[in-house]
Structure formats: structure tokens, C-alpha cells
Symmetry: C2
Subunit: 220 residues, 2 copies
């Protein structure tokens, strides 16, 4: 009982900071995506490909337990990338984001990508103030992940199924994954990509363009 | 400060239960391995292959956020498998193991495999009373995981590099991973396997046989 209350208290404190982040993002007209997936599913590679091939103004905040390797990869694409080393922490929290966004030119951005710590469990429970959560799965992880880790998939508006170049080498029922994802969250947008091969990105870019146009048009 | 003390208190409480588990395991002469890796790295597949091809007496405790799919896979190999659904929890703890082992014929076992929740971060911080931690990485995850998630690799006595059948399709410097792992923990035993292809398991089986013989011989 004590632990439950404590968890609630940590969550409520995080939620209050996340709400302030959300106001800041809205005031600056930046659309924010919280990208969540297992270690090595291709989160950074998807951002790299997007940075190199999508014409938009964006920045990235990259969380990792240790090293700034991923932030360096994004910065090498000419995108402003801020690294957060959690030093053992298993997810990003709203306070870390609040601290990082003070260093970013928010008003000049269309999009802010937040790459969470590689972890399919803990990050889904912590609101950062984002507009949407983006889940990333990869083919070699196996096709039962939506069922086994439901907490992310009931919350994610976008799902990438990445590393489709490995489909021919893995037993993977992609239709089953899509059906599981739609059962977890009706209306989820699903993009099937190979970030290393550069395939499947046009529908994602179309989604980004549509999001930006709706943001410019303002609330209907 | 409050949070640090609280985390310490949770850890100390866990450690006390883990110590009792460890006494129970030693009294029953069962050697216990805590298997940790990302979602989809092949933990269950390694256990399946071991169950089908290694001649030994073992049981398994299988942790998952949701579903008992993995425990069913192990049970289908003729091995007693106990499922723990954490319902959102990101790691197994010692109390869950204490509860599960009451239902297992410990005195009849050589080995108990505990498959932790798919997560490269949180499980490494919680002692379950095991003899050793076994880390599992897979080739498609990428070759920088030891550097990015060091907490597991400083503690693991055994490392599997699995899915070697995908080496020819992934940019993966396996020597770099081995070097990083040995730097994190000198003397780590490394097994390179393809659980789906059934290759690389003989050195692992040799390791299990040696462990059992040392247990039978008792302390020197």
C-alpha cells in the first residue's frame, strides 16, 4: 500500500512537470513525439533517415543509460541533438525534458523528437509532455511483442515495424502484429520500414507533413 | 534524497529475501541462473534448445509483463515451467521467486533457469538469489549494447551473443562486443549461438556439465 501511494506520488509529480512542458511546446508551436522501443530496434536509425530525407525543422533529445553515441549520430545529420545520460535510469522523466528544452530553439522548430531509453516497459508509464507516443518494434524481436508488452501499445498513436529487410530471414507474421496493435489501440498509424535500407518512409513523411499543416492551420 | 533512501530501502528488503532464496538453493543443491536481455533477444529460444538437447534435470521460472506464452514454450519441451506475470512490472524481484520456488521440486533439480522480464536495464539491479547472471544479446540489436547498458555487463558471468545466423545481414562487429564485455567483466564466459539454427551450443553444454560436476564435488 505504501509502495502504491509512493508510485502515485512520483507519477503525479512527473505529470505536473509534463503538463508544463506541454504548454511550452504548444506556445512554441512545436509538435513533440516520444519514441519508445527496445534496445536496438532502430529508433536512432529512423531518426537519422528522417533527418537526412525529410524537409522540416526539427531537433532531438536522446536518452541513453550511458554514452552519447546516439545523439552524436543525429548531430552528424545536421540536426541539433541534446543527449541525456540517465546513469542507470530506465526511462526519461518530464523534469529531464524540462531541463533540456531550455537549451533548444523551440520557436524555430516544427518537430521535436524525444528518443527514450531503450526499454519496452518503463518509458510508457511516464508522460514527458509529448503530443504523441511513437512505438518502434523490429522484425527480429519476434511477432508477439504487442501481446507481451501491452502498456506501450494501448498508448502509442504511431507504430513502426522496422527492419523489414530481415523479414525473409525471420519467422515473423507481420499481419498478426498489425492486428494486435489495432486491437490494443484502434486507429494506430502503422509504418513498415527498413531504416538501414531506406524503404517505407514516404507514408511517414506524409504523416509528418499532414501533422505540420494541421498545426499551422490551428484548431478547427 | 528521500527517493535515494527509498530506493535503498526497496533494495535492502529485496536483498534479504534474495539471501534466503540463495540459502534454499544451496541446501537443495540446485544451481540457479538469472537470464537477462532485451525483448526478443532469444532468451526463451536458448532455454528451449537447452531443454531439448542437454541431458540434465532442470526447471524454469519465466517472467513476463503479460501472457504466459514463453512458459508454455518451455513446458512444451517437457520442462517444468512456472510463469510469473508481472502485470506491468519491469523486472522480477526476490519475493516473486521465493513464492514460485515453493511449487518446484528443487531437491530433484541440477539447474533452475530464471528468465527475467525482457529489459536490458531494470532486472540487473535486483538480486534474486541466483548463482550467476546470464546476459543475452542478439546480433540485430547492434554492437554497441555493452557500452550503452553497462550495469548488466559488469555483473554477468556469462554472455550469449545470439542470432549469429543474421551476422551476414547486419553490420555487427562481434569482436568489438566481446572486447567490450571482457572490459566490463574480466573472465566473462561468452557463447556465440544461433538458437533458431541450433549452432554454438556445445561450449554452453560443456559449461553446464562443468558447473554440475563442481557442485557434486562440493567446495574445494
Amino acid at each position: 500500500m505504501k509502495r502504491v501511494n509512493l508510485r502515485r506520488s512520483v507519477q503525479e509529480s512527473n505529470d505536473a512537470v509534463a503538463a508544463r512542458n506541454r504548454e511550452t511546446f504548444a506556445r512554441n508551436g512545436v509538435y513533440v513525439m516520444n519514441i519508445i522501443g527496445s534496445p536496438g530496434c532502430g529508433k536512432t536509425s529512423i531518426l537519422e533517415y528522417t533527418a537526412r530525407h525529410f524537409d522540416g525543422r526539427f531537433a532531438a533529445i536522446i536518452g541513453d543509460v550511458k554514452t552519447t553515441l546516439d545523439a552524436e549520430r543525429i548531430a552528424a545529420c545536421g540536426v541539433e541533438a541534446h543527449a541525456i545520460e540517465t546513469g542507470g535510469g530506465c526511462h526519461l522523466n518530464a523534469a529531464q525534458i524540462a531541463s533540456a528544452i531550455g537549451k533548444l530553439p523551440l520557436a524555430e522548430l516544427d518537430f521535436l523528437f524525444i528518443e527514450n531509453v531503450g526499454n519496452l516497459v518503463c518509458p510508457s508509464a511516464f508522460d514527458l509532455g509529448e503530443n504523441i507516443k511513437v512505438a518502434v518494434l523490429s522484425v527480429p524481436e519476434g511477432d508477439e511483442k504487442v501481446r507481451k508488452y501491452p502498456d506501450l501499445f494501448v498508448r502509442a498513436d504511431v507504430l513502426f515495424i522496422n527492419k523489414t529487410d530481415l523479414l525473409e530471414h525471420c519467422a515473423y507474421d507481420i499481419d498478426r502484429v498489425k492486428a494486435d496493435a489495432r486491437k490494443a489501440r484502434a486507429g494506430v498509424r502503422i509504418f513498415t520500414t527498413s531504416a538501414s535500407g531506406g524503404t517505407g518512409f514516404e507514408p511517414w513523411f506524409e504523416f509528418l507533413r499532414g501533422t505540420r499543416e494541421r498545426a499551422v492551420a490551428g484548431p478547427q
